[in-house]
């Protein structure tokens, strides 16, 4: 039985894991870099150890240091969270060698799913639908054309050696096939010195739908239904919800079965996610498997009522799954938004700095996973995500109303955040109706810009407020430089006030 877990992570996910440890009576061990002594995950842990300078490769990615702390603190197990070492097969293997339980899958599952080509082949063999396309690189022009005709238009021609959009061509019309393939090949040759390409079916109105799975070490595997994650910018998820607004019970059952088959194909044990690309007609294809806890796992927890971290720990303990597929159902609707310290009006530029004040939304149906606090200085070294706001509602409509309410009462001063942007998403008709694809954000660029929701007087009042704030600060500077304690005439309100007045 695991009694003490080292959490090899920071930020909200470290706290998320510690919470379940705490609830299960398991001791938690934090590790922290030089930039993180004042991070909340240190304060939430039973023990905390310093592991090096701020840059991740010298601290949170340093396998030796983490193993050293695990031994020193006598931790039975390591939870990697997401990011950092969570999908590092070498780390999983190393833990095994050291006799420390890695709370996640073994190296075989990580490696198989980590390599796109191997994963694709494994899925094909397991009968899981993958995006139609070639499994081997094609050098011959005629063969490429023939393959495209077999798959059917539209297709995407991609450089085998490629990346970053180079050597990539979308082919929609038959007459463009030859010229596009030629262009892709010569571009690939120029860029990568290799003109091999592969061909994939192009999904026109793609939805990103993923299934949460749990598998134990005894061959049992269940799924916990889908998450709809199509609201993305630059392949970064921004809003996730469950159930998916486009899902049907029949397709859900099919996809769930395929998700379980995918996990079983790599003898998976632990919590994992199968990502599918899905079109408007609910044709779906395996995209990849994330062999760890997802950022957006809370919406599943809210709707299915299962604590995924608790189950991860139970599985790592060698227990059999506590749930059978037929025990599980979806109850209500959950939405998550990711709040970033960023300037959404300025190309989503990160905006680290000191949080002057933070006021979290409270009340019914609100879950908040965060790691920042008033006065906290967001470090420049790590992800700009400062919190995940999750709402649960009886219906999708109630959940959207609740999210809007929560975002409007979520106050942060000091740094720019994506809160107003997220609030505007909740107002877009296509989102409200559930009609959206991964193109949602680019397609609604104008609607999502800061706009005049504030009537003229409100703008005036905002300006007056800034002016008053400016005057207050000047007064404070003066009084401090005069050697007085700063008793501003602006700060009169409070109990003292009531005392003199009554």
């Amino acid at each position: 039985m695991i009694k003490k877990i080292l959490i090899a992570n920071r930020g909200e996910i470290a706290i998320r894991v510690m919470n379940s440890c705490h609830e299960m009576g398991i001791q938690s061990v934090a590790v922290y870099s030089e930039a993180d002594r004042n991070s909340l995950h240190v304060r939430y842990a039973d023990e905390a150890y310093f592991i090096g300078p701020a840059p991740s490769n010298q601290s949170y990615l340093d396998i030796e240091k983490i193993i050293e702390v695990a031994k020193k603190s006598d931790a039975d197990a390591i939870h990697p969270g997401y990011g950092f070492l969570s999908e590092n097969a070498g780390f999983s293997e190393r833990c095994k060698e050291e006799g420390i339980i890695f709370i996640g899958p073994d190296a075989y599952a990580i490696n198989t799913m980590g390599d796109k080509i191997t994963a694709r082949k494994t899925m094909l063999a397991a009968g899981v639908p993958v995006v139609p396309g070639t499994t081997e690189p094609i050098v011959d022009l005629d063969e490429a054309v023939k393959t495209i005709m077999e798959i059917g238009l539209p297709v995407m021609v991609k450089a085998s050696a490629g990346g970053g959009g180079k050597g990539m061509r979308l082919v929609e019309k038959e007459e463009d096939i030859l010229s596009s393939v030629q262009a892709a090949k010569s571009e690939a040759l120029a860029a990568f010195g290799n003109d091999a390409v592969y061909i994939e079916k192009y999904i026109n109105s793609p939805h990103h739908i993923e299934f949460q799975i749990l598998a134990d070490q005894h061959g049992n595997c269940i799924h916990l239904f889908e998450r709809e994650c199509s609201v993305q910018r630059r392949h970064q998820k921004v809003v996730e919800e469950t159930p998916s607004p486009i899902m049907t019970p029949e397709v859900r059952e099919d996809m769930g079965r395929h998700a379980v088959a995918a996990a079983k194909a790599v003898n998976y044990a632990g919590a994992g996610t199968i990502e599918f690309i899905t079109d408007d007609d609910l044709n779906y294809y395996f995209l990849e498997m994330n062999t760890r806890l997802q950022v957006e796992h809370p919406i599943t927890e809210q709707v299915v009522g299962v604590d995924l971290v608790r189950e991860q720990i139970n599985i790592a303990n060698g227990e059999k799954l506590h749930y059978r597929q037929e025990d599980l159902s979806q109850h209500g609707h959950a939405i998550e938004v990711r709040v970033y310290a960023e300037d959404t009006d300025n190309n989503f530029m990160p905006n680290p700095g000191k949080i002057n004040y933070i006021h979290f939304p409270l009340g019914a149906g609100i879950r908040h996973d965060s790691y920042v606090y008033s006065g906290y200085d967001i470090p420049i070294y790590y992800d700009p995500m400062i919190s995940k706001l999750v709402v649960w509602g009886n219906s999708r409509e109630e959940a959207i109303g609740r999210m809007k309410r929560a975002l409007e009462s979520y106050k942060i001063s000091g740094v720019k955040t994506s809160i107003p942007f997220l609030s505007r998403i909740m107002d877009v008709a296509d989102f409200k109706n559930g009609h959206y694809t991964t193109h949602f954000i680019p397609n609604h660029e104008d609607a999502l810009k800061s706009k005049d929701s504030c009537p003229e007087e409100c703008v005036d009042l905002a300006a007056i407020t800034a002016f008053i704030d400016f005057l207050k600060k000047q007064e404070q500077i003066k009084s401090v430089s005069n050697g007085q304690a700063s008793v501003s005439q602006w700060k009169a309100f409070g109990r003292k006030k009531a005392v003199t007045r009554l």
């Binding site: 300006a463 800034a466 207050k472």
Partner: protein, 167 residues
């Protein structure tokens, strides 16, 4: 002292007519506002005006520059006093470079592409800065000559800190 506020790019006169605790009367661009203004938490204000409640969150990148968040809108306000008027009068057109390159936020210097005394062409990148795993390139607008390079690669920098100055 006479003040103006620049609201989303437009200058307007502002004057406090009276104040008593949190009740304030203000004249803004010829319009009088009688309001009850309270800083509830640092930078978080509640303003009551004609019974309506307005909540504002203030962010400042510099002492006189405010970005105010309302529910779904972001409003830029700059306080204009004698000093800023003087600074403005000295400033040229918008398409001219400032006397130095700085970044709007803290970060880490990834790469410096110029040396002191070097002549750089308009549009050329002079420095690359990373924050939160995202790199940004900073360019000059017109041809300039580098005066001083104040930081080195790997340095952590603050927002608005001069990094490279020009002649």
């Amino acid at each position: 002292m006479s003040y103006e506020v620049n609201i989303n790019g437009e200058d307007r006169e502002i004057e406090i007519l009276s104040r008593e605790d949190n009740r304030i009367k203000v004249l803004l661009g010829g319009k009088t506002y009688d309001l009850d203004l309270l800083e509830e938490e640092p930078g978080i204000y509640s303003v009551l005006w004609q019974g309506k409640n307005f909540n504002f969150e203030l962010n400042t990148s510099a002492a006189k520059k405010y970005t105010i968040d309302t529910i779904a809108e972001r409003i830029d306000v700059e306080i204009v006093d004698a000093e800023s008027r003087y600074m403005r009068s000295r400033k040229g057109n918008d398409d001219e470079d400032a006397a130095f390159i700085s970044t709007p936020m803290p970060g880490q210097v990834v790469k410096i592409l110029v040396k002191e005394g070097q002549a750089v062409k308009g549009g050329e990148t002079v420095i690359i800065v990373s924050a939160m795993k995202m790199e940004s390139e900073y360019k000059v607008i017109k041809d300039r000559i580098v005066k001083e390079v104040l930081v080195k690669e790997g340095d952590n920098i603050d927002g608005d800190q001069p990094l490279i100055t020009f002649e």
